[in-house]
Symmetry: C2
Subunit: 221 residues, 2 copies
């Protein structure tokens, strides 16, 4: 019989997330938690963002999936370090898993670490990983009602990337409506449109990430 | 402090799911658990399927969402009974929630009840609700790798509906590859293509559902 103390798990996770954050801060590494539904385009976005960032920053990726090492393999060919976590059924990354993945990286040689979470618009919201930036990727093919229907995910978002914007002409997605819902739940969140498949909006997205890291560095010192 | 016994929860849920199934069986109501990612198009599909089914069967819908009654409202205008469950944070429906929703329905006046689960490709997989048919809705915009990456969801699927097929020309989705992955995990599962938004494939999908219920009725007696 397995005994799980629900409240203790979250407490312990937050302690571990604080530890991760301290380790990253000390090494000057900006942690970015990338969240979103399955198939919202998180990995494809990284495949496009990394070439745009690589000459400006030293980047690594921690990939979280239930099964397979597909995503880490997709990142590896880009020439940046990647670590795959297989959660074996768990619906979200947690700070302990990320700590183990961080052990496999040489933090002193890095400026930014993406933590691509398991595709899930619910469970991943509650578990801090040690990130300094929480970015939710929402594919416009998911519909403009998703912000209202999954509030915990968006409430603590630092940014929402509206991905697959190339498909806007073929869907009923109302950008203004989605933006209004985001504004209500997370007034400070940046909202960017991007089309990872075609590359539209990727350079702006890369500039924005570099800017966020610079602001963090300036504030840190 | 809250103590949660993980193994006990699943056991208790399966007992409750058996009870739900017995209640539905006795009333001759075919339970359909509708699963899939957020924005895979479950509700839109129901909006199109119900008018196609309504003259052939008496249908009701149980809607599961973290927040809002949007989905049940969308169903109500179709003139069939609907019950909204708000899980208040829980990432999946469970059998107890569905039992409460069943209390709000007059089962003796029904032939089929859809249980539209919370949008989630992970957590919903483990919780039986009392259904006789598990249907996974996979939007082709999510990518053809999702079956391999989220195996628990597909392993116990009775059918996979490849939705948003109208967007196939604008994406890289490989239908053959997805079908091969489904075949490997769930060799018995039916795979249907449908485009809920345009209505393409909806009549075939309705026929298929009627056929599955008839086969179940024949087997029951």
């Amino acid at each position: 019989m397995q005994i799980v103390l629900a409240s203790k798990i979250l407490e312990a996770n937050e302690r571990n997330a604080d530890d991760n954050q301290a380790r990253l801060d000390e090494a000057g590494v900006y942690g970015v938690n990338l969240l979103g539904s399955p198939g919202s385009g998180k990995t494809t976005l990284l495949e496009k963002l990394i070439p745009a960032l690589k000459d400006r920053m030293r980047v690594a990726v921690i990939e979280g999936d239930l099964a397979t090492a597909r995503d880490a393999e997709r990142i590896e060919v880009l020439g940046v370090p990647s670590v795959q976590i297989n959660t074996e059924g768990a619906c979200h990354l947690d700070a302990t898993m990320v700590a183990a993945a961080m052990d496999a990286l040489d933090l002193d040689t890095l400026d930014m670490v993406f933590m691509e979470n398991v595709g899930n618009l619910v469970c991943t919201a509650g578990f801090l990983l040690g990130e300094r930036l929480r970015v939710v990727v929402l594919s416009i093919t998911e519909g403009d009602d998703k912000v209202e229907k999954y509030p915990p995910m968006f409430r603590h978002a630092d940014a929402v990337l509206l991905n697959k914007a190339d498909l806007l002409p073929y869907t009923d997605f109302d950008v203004k409506k989605a933006e209004a819902h985001i504004k209500r739940l997370a007034p400070e969140a940046d909202v960017l449109q991007v089309a990872a498949r075609t590359g539209d909006g990727v350079p702006a997205c890369a500039d924005w990430l570099v800017g966020r890291r610079e602001a963090w560095m300036a504030q840190k010192t």
